[in-house]
Amino acid sequence: MAARHARTAATFVFFILLLLLPQLPVPEFWITQLNYIGLYAIVALGLVLLTGVAGLTSFGQAAFVGIGAYTTALLTVNEVASPWLTVFVGIALTCAGAVLIGWLTLRMSGHYLPLATICWGLALNYLMANMDFLGKFDGILGVPALEFFSISLNQGRTLFYLIWGIAIAAAFALLNLLDSRPGRAIRALRGGVTMAESMGVSTFRYKVVVFVLAAVLASISGWLFAHFQRTVNPSPFGLKMGIEYLFMAVVGGVGNVWGAFTGAAVVKLVEDQLQVWLPRLVGASGNYEIIVFGLALVLVLKYAPQGLWPFVAERLPARVRTRDWANAPPLAIRGKPARGELVLDVAAARKEFGGLVAVNDVSFQIHAGEIIGLIGPNGAGKSTTFNLVSGVLPLTRGAVRFRGESVDHASSRHIARLGMSRTFQHVKLIADMTVLENVALGGHLRASTGTLRAMLRLDRAEEKRLLHEAERQLERIGMREHENELAGNLALGPQRLVEIARALATDPALLLLDEPAAGLRLREKEALGKVLRQLKAEGLSILLVEHDMDFVMGLTDRIVVMEFGTKLIEGTPAEVQASPAVRAAYLGTEH
C-alpha cells in the first residue's frame, strides 16, 4: 500500500510541475525544447508499441509525421478547413497508407515491414520535395496558429499544454491498452504467431492495428508540429528522422511507455549539444552527430537492450495489481457435448514432408468424457499428429472432424473458436507477463473488448470477469499463489501447469496436452492427474501426448500407440501393456 501511495504521489507531483512550468519564469528556449520533446515522444510512443511490445518495427514514422503536417498545412493555409478538422483528415490519410503497407507486408516475415517502411519513407519524402502544390523543397509557409475558444496557441507556452496534454493522454491510452484483452494479444505477437493463433487471436489483424496506431500517433505529432513551427518543408520528414525516432525509442527503453519520453528527451538534448560541438571539433559544418547516434544505437542494443528507462524504473516503487475482480460475474460457458458423444474423429490423417511420411493414415476417435493417450517412441509422429488435429499443420490427405464439423483446412484460430484448446511441448508463455495475464489470454475469445474501448478504459467490467476466470483456472490447477509472478520466472514444471490453465480458460470441449507431465515432480504429477480426472468428470475430453508411462497408464481410458508415423495399436492401458508389438516398438525385438 505504501508503495502505491508513493507512486501516486510521485505521479501527482510530476503533473503539477508540468502544469506550472510554462507559468514559471523558465527561459523560452527550454519551453521550446520541451515542446520538441513532447512532439518526438508522441511518435516514439508508437514505436514502443510497435517495436518493444509487438516485435515489429518501422523506419518510416517520419513519413507519417509528414502526412499529418503537410495535410494540415495545405488545408489551413488555403483556408479549406479548421485545423481541428484537418487533424482528422491527416489521420484518415495516414491510416490509408498504414493499412496498405501493413496489409502488404504483415502476412510475411517480420523484416518485410521495416524494409517496406524505408522505401515508402524515401518515396514519400521525394514526393513532398517535388510536388508543386506542396511547395517543393521550400515547403508551405505561413501555417496559422491553432486557436482554442479564441485563445490563440501561437506561443510556445500555450501550445505546450496541448502538446503535453496529447503526449500524456497517448501514454495513458497505451498503458490502458497494454493492460487489457487486446493488449495481451498484442504482447503475445512478439513470441511468434502459433500460440496466439491457438488462443484465437488474429495475429495479422493485431499487427495491422498496432502499425496503424503507431502511424496515427505520428500523424498527430505532425499536425502539432506544423502548427508549432508554422511552416513545413520536406527535411524533418526524411528517412534520417525516421531512424532517429526509432533511436529515441531504443535509447529510452523500447519496452516501456515512459521510455519514449526518456528517449525523446535524451536524444533531443544530446543532439543539440552535438550539433554545436562536433562541427567545431571537426572544423567543418555537417551533421556529424549521426556518427554518435549510429555508434550509440549499436552499443545500446548490445549492452542495454532495454534502454535507459529500467535504470529510472528501478528507483520507482513497483506497480501492484489490485485484486478487484472477486465479485465479477463468471464468463459465459459454451454448450458442451453430452457424455459419450463423438467429439474428435481422425480418419486416415496423413502428413508428408517431401518424401517423408511423418503421419501415415492414422485414425482414432475421441468421445466426450474420455481421456485418450497418444504414445510412441521418439520420432513416431505424435507431435505432428497433434499439430494436424489442432490446425497448426495442414493435412496432406485424410480428414479430421471436430464435433461434426470438418476442420481439415481450418486455421488453428477457427479450431480454437470451436472449442479445442492445446498446450505446447515447448512451453509458449509470454515471459514478461504475469501468470494471471498469461492465463487471461486464454479467455480471449470469450470477451469482445476492442482496441479503442481498451484505450479509453471502458473495458473494466469485462476485464474483471476475464481476470476472475483466469484466477479460477489457476486455483483449479493449484497455481493461484503464483498469479502475480512473471511467467518467465517460473520453473518448467509450473510453466506447463500455467499452459494448462490458459488452455482451460478458453472453455474447451477438447483439451490437447503435449507432454504435460514433463518436468513435473511426483507430487505435482499426482496433483495434475487429479485435476485431469476432475476435468474428465466434468465431461471434458482430453488427448494426451506423454512419455511418462505410469502417468498415462493410470489416467487414460484408451491409448493409441504410434511408431514410424503409423498407428501400431489402440486399446485400454491393460491391452497396450500386454501387447508384444508395443514392447517391440519400445525395447526392440528379441532374435
Binding site: P114, I290, L301
Partner: protein, 345 residues
C-alpha cells in the same frame, strides 16, 4: 518514344541493373549466412568510388584513416576479450598483429603513393585492398557479439551502422563529390546504341563476379561451408564450421562486391559520401523481389529496378526515386500472395 530512345534507355537500365545485381546478391548472401539485413551495403560502394576519386586527385583517401581506425578498434577489443579469457600474452600479440598487419601495410603504402597520383589500375587495386578488409571489421565491431539476436535487432543495428558509416564518410571524405575517369574510354556503335568502354567493363565484371560466386558456392569448401551455415547455423557449427568465421567471410565478400561496384559506377556518376545509401537500397529492392533468398531472382529483380529507373527518369525525372521505391509495394504484394508463411522467431 521511339525504338532508338527505348533501346538507349534499356541499355542504360541494364547497365545500372548489372551493378544493382551485384549489390542485391551481396544482400542475399549476408542475409542467408548471418541473418543480417545489411542496409550499409551502399556505403562500401561510395567508399570504393570516392577512394579511387581521391587517388586520382592526388589526395590521401579517407578510407586509409577509416580502415586504420576500425582495425585499431578491433585490435583493442580483441586484446581485452582475449586477456579476459586468459589467452597467453604472446598469442594475443600474434592475433593482434594478424588483425593489424594488412590494414597497416595497405594504408601506409596508399598514404605514401597517393600524392604522386598512382595510375588508375593501381588506384583501383588499392581501393579494393582498402575497402574489402572493412567487411570483416564491420562484422566484428557491429554484429559478432549479437550473432544470436533476432533479425529485427540485427536490422536496427544495421541502421546504426549505416548512420555511423555515413557520418564517417563525411568526416573522412568531406562533402565534396568525385567522378572518376573511365577505365576504358573507347566507344562502339551498334545501330542507335553507343556502348562506352565502361559499359562493357560493367557487363563483363558483373558477369564474371556472378560466375565466380557460383563457382565459389558450388566448387569450394568455404563456399559450401557458407551454404551450410545458411541452411542451419547450429548444424553447421556442429560440423565444425564456425559461424563467426562464416560471418566474417561473408561480410568480406560483401565489402569486396561493394567496393567493386563503386569502381564500376564511379565513372558514370558523381559520387558523394552519402550517395551509397540510395544505390545500395536499389539493390535492396531487388533482393526483396527475390525474397532475400534466391540469387538468380535477385539478379533479375536488379535488372528490373535498373530498367524501371531509366524509363522513370525519362518520363518523369523528378519522380524517378519515387517510382523506383514505390515499386516495392507491388513487389511485396506479389510476394505476399506467393508465399505468405510467417516464421517463428
Amino acid at each position: 518514344m521511339d525504338f532508338s530512345i527505348a533501346s538507349i534507355l534499356l541499355l542504360d537500365g541494364v547497365t545500372n541493373g548489372a551493378v544493382y545485381a551485384l549489390l542485391a546478391m551481396a544482400t542475399v548472401l549476408l542475409f542467408a549466412v548471418t541473418r543480417v539485413i545489411f542496409i550499409p551495403q551502399g556505403e562500401f560502394v561510395a567508399f570504393g568510388a570516392l577512394t579511387v576519386g581521391m587517388f586520382q586527385a592526388g589526395q590521401v583517401p579517407g578510407t586509409v584513416w577509416l580502415l586504420l581506425a576500425m582495425a585499431i578498434a578491433v585490435a583493442v577489443l580483441d586484446t581485452f576479450a582475449q586477456l579476459r579469457r586468459g589467452v597467453a600474452l604472446a598469442r594475443v600479440a600474434r592475433n593482434v598483429l594478424l588483425v593489424l598487419a594488412l590494414p597497416v601495410v595497405v594504408c601506409t603504402f596508399s598514404w605514401w603513393i597517393a600524392p604522386s597520383k598512382p595510375p588508375l589500375l593501381l588506384s583501383a587495386l588499392l581501393t579494393l585492398l582498402l575497402v574489402t578488409p572493412m567487411g570483416a571489421l564491420v562484422y566484428r565491431l557491429g554484429y559478432q557479439s549479437l550473432a544470436d539476436a533476432s533479425v529485427l535487432v540485427l536490422l536496427i543495428v544495421s541502421v546504426g551502422v549505416h548512420f555511423a558509416l555515413t557520418g564517417f564518410g563525411l568526416l573522412f571524405f568531406g562533402a565534396e563529390g568525385f567522378r572518376t575517369p573511365p577505365f576504358w574510354d573507347a566507344r562502339f556503335s551498334a545501330g542507335p546504341l553507343t556502348f562506352s568502354g565502361q559499359t562493357l567493363i560493367i557487363f563483363f565484371a558483373s558477369a564474371a563476379l556472378i560466375v565466380l560466386l557460383w563457382l565459389f558456392f558450388e566448387r569450394t569448401l568455404y563456399g559450401k561451408a557458407l551454404r551450410a551455415t545458411a541452411v542451419n547455423r547450429l548444424g553447421a557449427r556442429l560440423m565444425g564450421i564456425s559461424s563467426t568465421a562464416a560471418g566474417a567471410l561473408s561480410f568480406t565478400m560483401a565489402a569486396f562486391i561493394g567496393a567493386l561496384s563503386g569502381l564500376l559506377i564511379g565513372p558514370t556518376t558523381t559520387v558523394f559520401y552519402d550517395s551509397g545509401f540510395l544505390i545500395g537500397l536499389k539493390g535492396f529492392v531487388a533482393a526483396v523481389f527475390a525474397g532475400l533468398a534466391s540469387y538468380p531472382a535477385a539478379a533479375v529483380g536488379a535488372l528490373g529496378v535498373g530498367i524501371l529507373e531509366s524509363f522513370g527518369s525519362f518520363w518523369a525525372s523528378a519522380f524517378k526515386e519515387v517510382i523506383v521505391f514505390t515499386a516495392i509495394l507491388p513487389v511485396l504484394l506479389w510476394r505476399s500472395l506467393r508465399d505468405h508463411h510467417v516464421d517463428e522467431e
